[in-house]
Symmetry: C2
Subunit: 561 residues, 2 copies
Amino acid sequence: MKVALAQINPTVGDIGGNVDRILDYARRAAAAGADLAVFPELCVCGYPPLDLLENDSFVDSCEAGLARIEAGLPDGLAAIVGSPIRNPTPVGKRIFNAAVLIDDGQRMATIHKALLPTYDVFDEYRYFEPGHERAIVEWRGHRIGLHICEDMWNNEEQADYHLYRENPVDELADLGAEIFINISASPFSLGKHRRRTEVVEEICREHGLPFILVNQVGANTEVVFDGDSRVHAADGSLVRCAPSFEEALIIWDSESGPEKCPAGYAESEELHGALVLGIADYFHKTGAFSKALVGLSGGIDSAVTCALAVDALGSDNVVGVTMPSRYSSEGSISDSRDLAENLGIEFHNIPIEPAVDAFGKMLEPVFHGTQEGIAEENIQARSRGVTLMGISNKFNYLLLSTGNKSEMSVGYATLYGDMSGGLAVLADVYKTQVYDLARYMNEWAGREVIPRSTIDKPPSAELRPDQKDSDSLPEYDVLDAILRQYIEGQRDLRRIVAATGYAENLVEQILNLVDRNEYKRRQAAPGIRVSTKAFGMGRRVPIVMRWSRADAGIKTKVQTG
Amino acid sequence: MKVALAQINPTVGDIGGNVDRILDYARRAAAAGADLAVFPELCVCGYPPLDLLENDSFVDSCEAGLARIEAGLPDGLAAIVGSPIRNPTPVGKRIFNAAVLIDDGQRMATIHKALLPTYDVFDEYRYFEPGHERAIVEWRGHRIGLHICEDMWNNEEQADYHLYRENPVDELADLGAEIFINISASPFSLGKHRRRTEVVEEICREHGLPFILVNQVGANTEVVFDGDSRVHAADGSLVRCAPSFEEALIIWDSESGPEKCPAGYAESEELHGALVLGIADYFHKTGAFSKALVGLSGGIDSAVTCALAVDALGSDNVVGVTMPSRYSSEGSISDSRDLAENLGIEFHNIPIEPAVDAFGKMLEPVFHGTQEGIAEENIQARSRGVTLMGISNKFNYLLLSTGNKSEMSVGYATLYGDMSGGLAVLADVYKTQVYDLARYMNEWAGREVIPRSTIDKPPSAELRPDQKDSDSLPEYDVLDAILRQYIEGQRDLRRIVAATGYAENLVEQILNLVDRNEYKRRQAAPGIRVSTKAFGMGRRVPIVMRWSRADAGIKTKVQTG
């Protein structure tokens, strides 16, 4: 049995293009002598198609795509592809999430996904009827335990809690599978490579069977898929592995021995790969933009965003603009210019004083007698937003917003100001991780790409004289530790205090800021998801709500709006 | 049997406040001689609680709330309340959506919702394990078929398609129910009153049993609940009915005869009720704002938004600002002023030329040699946005954005410009409906609140000389007919052409505009949902996607971004 793992990067909805790509990889697989080419979950339409699935014509398109694959596969090659297919019964959701085995111009077998993830960024039960019965796929004398993504994730024998009542992998083993094949659209998050390895190893060891996993690669709007396709031997050992964050065709021969796989990846390396792919795929898959545009403040977030954009798109395709105000330090302008020079990008300096002055005069009759404060600070940030959006609209540039997860969590950002943009590159990256990423990128480049002074100076929004982030927020290592507990850890006040040892009133203040700023995040640009819990489609919190921790025996009233 | 239907307006997350309200209504029910008070689905925490349900402390708070209700009910009164409760088994989702019957200080019965809506704005399978078994609630000699919201919506005997495999209502009848009680959080959409009546009538006639439905009232972020609680007799006839869009306590005595209920409501009357409630609840439940703020263009959308805000909050709590540019007609300023005078609200006139000029000069070095176009138009809209947000930030006003559904569909709006705001009042109201609403409000007031010239003049964004909406878009009756087919009807090109008779290339152009502008809507303020398919949480379309209708045998390639 010679299997090709086709780790492809489909574009959501581009059924014609995806089928072309599938047939291209099939030809390469056949040329490499494979008997069977395995493609990712829903590769015909790309994952996640979301509500496109509710459009009848869309499902028609997928059926037409499957027919093209049936007709177009090279002689002698079978293929397993993922596609939505109609539920022919008049009961339940209208479609199944299916794995189809095609051989000799025909659909030899169709398997329906049984476990439908409906949590975090996943909404599968919104669309799909679960597969109610399990069956072995018998093909050319092999007994394949074919299943789809989540179907393998209910298998932890040691766990004291299971999300699902069924365990498809165990059922397939009981039915006499000789090998497992899993087709996935399993998103990246930091540490996912290790977790995937552990789960597959456990399945192999439990059942004494080899395991092939083929995962989608690429970014579709906010969700990044890392690929990380692999083959594990019957003893659980990893014997073949595809790279992360790029397309690949890997050939595995059941008769040949193991090849060496990397033990794992460093966090900044993984982050860099995911974010660069996220920018590149947003840019190229939309096909709507001529270049990317970044507002450069001299600070670490905009510098890292800009450097990532250059890695994703090349220095000719990135434009930097610095927009100093009366509160900008000279260092901010020179650091921005140095960054642009280090990166070799087009650079503009547009002071915002004229706009800020104009708004000041226009609003004077209304603001008369009030004290300067947040309103005036936001006018500066929004004057920058209007400037950048003007350039974006004029030249069709993709504006990248630069706010990090720490800031987005506590609302330390201006709606329609620095939050403006089509893609929020660092929205799921904590400030402390942004620093690590800056150092990693400089090290990797072997030179100072991100200026040392940008890395070394204390963070500031520079919206009033001598402002520092630390005037309003705790130090970022403290803030990030609390935020990780609350957002990714989904722990609440008491457990966070117990886990971190920080003062209850500090933790509570941070939690309340997170709750209260949902309205800003609801209007934020989509961010590139790199953690297990990103803001956006994976975290759905009401804007209008008054949850009082007092009701759970915990003090204070949260008010948001 | 004397039952109180307690149609209350809970606030999401305000468990202490909601329990206070439940106990208050219970006292009033007891004072009116009721044996049983019935409250809406999840009334302890408010609906929809969304991901608050994933927080352990939140479910603790609900459990504590239930304990307070057990201890606090008046002597002799039983109550049915809705609350999340923990799934005690180690399999499945962690909580149930439950109806709890409390009598004599104890939980006498607990019913788990069986059918979990997971479509449109609903995400229930994200949180809840379905109830796997049905049981009759036996209480003081009555056999109650107690169930929750969606449990009653799989009962259309004539339908040739059923979303669910189970039918809880039929099962409860088979188990010997003598009366059905349904507790709901069933959102409003136009026509929902009639639909609800039809479904309950059919159940009553099929089983020959009376039916009590108690529904939540109030708006929580984007979703409006109309109440519309009711009692149907065993023959299906409507015998008691609560008003729509307000709290109510209705007493039904099984021994007494029918009372007269309204046959239905006119569309503009329903729209007005829903939108006024949507504004009022956003404002009061957040408790975050001192007044509401509306930018007045002299056009119909801002006029209707402003008049609705006055109906919701009173004229003392609404501020209007007109912001003329060089392209504004004199009529636009005078119509805005007339409207403000008619409504009796505070009014400001802030010309935006200084800001527009400033941005023009700032961008001149970059824009040099380019033609004036969309970029310059957007700078005007965004200068207004910055002005309004400045006032909003300074005085803590809730900025209401004014774009209608027709414009939001095709992207005829400026991101960070006229789309700025905390709540998008008309985002789910088509332009043709906005006109109807304006006429309805003037008629109802018996005077010209919305100036006649605002209603009569051709719509214009006034962003360039002599601009009219009809330069870029078809007439609104045509546009809205196509949009309704695509968005609410979920039909695609061929079926829309067949249904409307409009030219294929016109329909196609509109559909492509809708698809292509998802990126704008993703960053829009939440809108008040009044249709069966609103933008926002109920319509989840990828931003990065290339669906080509050519793949379904339909021409053209859609490119978005």
